[in-house]
Amino acid sequence: MEKKRDYSLVGESTRIAIETGLASAEWYHTDVARKAMKELMQRSDGPAIRDTIIWIVAILGSAAGIIWFWGTWWVVPFLLVYGVLYGSSSDSRWHECGHGTAFRTRRMNDVVYQIASFMLMRNPVTWRWSHARHHTDTIIVGRDAEIAVMRPPDLLRAALAFTGVLDFRYSLPTLVRNAFGKISPDEKSFIPEMELRKVVTAARWHVAIYVAAIVLALYLWSFLPLVLIGLPRLYGSWHMVLTGLLQHIGLADNVTDHRLNTRTVYMNPISRFIYWNMNYHVEHHMFPMVPYHALPRLHELIKHDLPEPNPSMWHAYREVWPVLIKQLRYEDYFLKRELPPTARPYRDEFHALTVPAAAE
């Protein structure tokens, strides 16, 4: 079957997105009074300091458990906890601190951002710029560098993502390539030239730490250093994928309304701690200035204008599964989620190419 979508950032879809005005377009926003929005945007160090202390204590505690019980079966629960904290919760810390909204103090955001980027094997410079592009051109084919599941969906690839293998296989060679001073054309398409040097420097730091961990493992003749540094990206990233895939999967692409291409899902408190409330994802994309701890309040304020959230992750996956199956044959098909009667309607004139293929 001929592929209609070119996900390269310098290809045919890129050209079309720019020519049709989809790139860097003006997006739909729910009306929120300036006074209310100003209150929601207010920064505070308190919630993130509290959460970061809990996070670090839990990471160090579970790491201590791994070291203590290494070589016995008692190590397994500690591996599970450490893996998710290292390989999954670092994603939300990376994300929120990258936006600069977690803490009021910029330096605190920067420190946690650097630590979380390392844990994720993400170049902190590259990913800051790719995420800016993701917010400018959310799920615009040829422009968005962070589309997790492309069309037609590769379901095997999506399943393998839960193991972290694919990300690991991409992230580590990318860091090594960057450390040798090589920047790809896709990376150059969203990173300003003046920042390219920083990409290389950051990659060299990351690679140096991994080399040190490997040397230590060889010296001790033990996998333990690698189980603590690097490998959690494999065995602990399942929760990041479980929650993160739901952000946009099966929804519209090439539209300029986050209600059509982004999903809000109610989640349990543990997942919300790990995910730092990014389950309120439509709200986050519409108003990225609102810190994670204020997203539930934002949700209450604007939910009249948004599709009904999925009541659980299970519900969301059950809803999207038949859509993915159908996309295997009809890649234009997508899930168009129904708006409540209180919402302003979708502006179909802007989405004429994709709306007829939608399932409601």
């Binding site: 860097s24 929005m37 100003k38 945007m41 207010q42 920064r43 936006h99 600069g100 909204t101 009021r104 910029r106 410079v125 800051r128 710029w129 800016a132 917010h135 400018t136 300003p192 003046m194 920042e195 108003f287 990225p288 200035m289």
Partner: protein
């Protein structure tokens, strides 16, 4: 030299806040600092076309609502990625309860 233009009344902007001012086909942002001084910059972020007036003022910083890029609105200096280009600033004076800006 271009003249002074009335942008708004002094009470139209809350303390530690910003409003949008359009004039002659251009867009500006008018700020009132926490210590009750007024400043003016270009209205759009230098990174991408987003209205800074929808952003957040914290002390002497304006944060863009789209990608959280930060500028010092008193000097226009960009404070780091994703903003790399400084913001143009404009002289401001207050006369008879009105905020005036000088557009070059």
């Amino acid at each position: 030299m271009a003249g002074w233009v009335e942008a708004c009344g002094v009470d139209d902007v809350e303390e530690e806040d910003v409003i949008r001012f359009d004039h002659g086909g251009r867009t500006f942002a008018i700020y009132r600092s926490p210590d009750d001084e007024y400043f003016a910059t270009d209205g759009y972020c230098t990174h991408e076309k987003a209205h800074l007036a929808d952003g957040l003022v914290m002390d002497d910083i304006i944060e863009c609502p789209k990608h959280n890029g930060r500028f010092n609105y008193k000097t226009g200096v960009a404070k780091g990625a994703p903003v790399c280009v400084n913001l143009a600033t404009y002289p401001v004076k207050v006369e008879a309860g009105k905020v005036m800006i000088q557009i070059g």
